[in-house]
Amino acid sequence: MSAVVEFERAISVVGSFPVLTGLDLRVDQGEILHVRGENGAGKTSLLRACAGLVSVSSGNASVLGFDMRVDRRAPRRYIGLLGHENNLYRDLGVREHIEFRAASVGARASDTAAALEQVGFPQQLWTVPIGSLSAGQRRKVAIASLLVGRPQLWLLDEPHAALDTESRKNLDAILTEASTSGATIIFVSHESPGTKDIASRVVTMDGGRITEDPGAD
């Protein structure tokens, strides 16, 4: 198995705060990694470092085979990132929004309908402006925006938040299917997702580094 994400003693600083304090982590292709930890443990920063949005200032970091210390933009087009925020334009219609996101990652606009159906988004709301949707519906739109890009690496920050039980199950199904077809998934949550944990491995973070990792030797 090839490593999709590999961090060695990685230190990241945002502003003047060390968000990652010497983190070691290896994630192989096809894994579904669940990162646990309390608020402020550095989980979000780990995701952002994987996406190349936060630079690694010392140690080694490679994502999808790209050295993040050389060019942290390189792997981005293969990555789907869902942060705390949904990254939605509240003044766009649902469909318009996903078509824009699809086009901006070089995917076909025709995949939009499939993605929206996959996340179980009611068809009568496809033209409604995002600003008037509920939190759960927005989350679904955000997930659909990732789906159209068919990312090789999914980085999800509390993906189950704001979703009801039914939608959580649905999301788990989507993620499991993605991983069987070769994608790698890292998701972060400080609670257990509520449904059966789909993760193939669970690691714990604290103080900006991994403190428990069954996969580490």
Binding site: V13, T21, G207, G208, T211
Partner: protein
């Protein structure tokens, strides 16, 4: 760049001390020469003494801004390859810009006072004055941008890009303002017959420039060192923060 190299090395205390003392002595002598020894001008009278602070100031300001631009270009070139490289160029750019702003302010104030006695007005919409004010505001903006809280590399890059744009913009501003005035102003108040600068006045001006240059160099070096110290302080704070996060980590086990 050799300039940056030597500037960095000159932070050594003996060198800056000597430089500081010479700056002090040189400016004192400059005051004696400019205020007492040099003769009043035939046309401008005593007012000509303003020349010795006004003209060197603007030269130093231009020089500093040029230094800011060069270091910014070098910084961008360095940091394109690796984000954590070329920080010294960024420091040099920042310290030179600040010194440049101080000297631009002095130029403006002395210029306005001088204008009052020679032209009878503090302000004239003359190309040079207008450009200088815009230059002043531009670099004030640059300094404001540098002070914003951000990740160091991001802040430095942003500042470097702005320095570059500002530098490109200076000739555009100057050209357009110059053209504006020459097109529409009936050659009126402008000083016009600027007296020939000769003899003692010439030497005094030259000497003043030298003195102010020494002072500015000393200032830039010191400012550079202060920026470096600020960074060291931040880094030290960082180590402490990492340590405290790890201690908490150890404690939880």
């Amino acid at each position: 760049m050799p300039g940056a190299n030597s500037a960095a090395k000159m932070t050594a205390t003996p060198v800056t001390r000597v430089l500081g003392v010479s700056a002090l002595a040189a400016t004192a002598l400059m005051a004696v020469l400019g205020l007492i020894v040099s003769p009043p001008d035939v046309i401008q009278g005593e007012a000509v003494r303003m020349l010795y602070v006004h003209v060197p100031s603007i030269w130093i300001a231009y020089g500093s801004f040029a230094l800011t631009s060069t270091s910014s270009v070098l910084f961008l070139r360095r940091s394109r390859r690796r984000a954590d490289q070329g920080r010294h160029y960024d420091r040099l750019a920042g310290s030179a810009a600040e010194v440049g702003v101080v000297f631009t302010a002095i130029t403006l104030i002395t210029g306005m006072l001088w204008g009052k006695v020679t032209w009878g007005t503090y302000w004239q919409w003359d190309a040079r004055l207008t450009t200088t004010v815009l230059l002043f505001v531009t670099y004030l903006g640059y300094l404001a941008l540098r002070r914003l809280p951000a990740e160091p590399t991001v802040r430095s890059r942003r500042a470097a890009v702005m320095a570059l744009i500002s530098f490109v913009n200076v000739p555009i501003v100057h050209y357009s303002v110059d053209w504006w005035r020459t097109l529409h102003q009936k050659a009126s108040l402008s000083v016009g017959r600027r007296p020939e600068i000769t003899g003692e006045m010439y030497w005094t001006l030259l000497y003043s420039t030298l003195a102010v240059t020494i002072l500015a160099t000393w200032l830039i070096i010191h400012r550079y060192r202060v920026i470096r110290l600020e960074e060291l302080r931040d880094e030290e704070g960082l180590e402490a923060l990492i340590a405290s996060r790890l201690n908490k980590d150890v404690g939880s086990h």
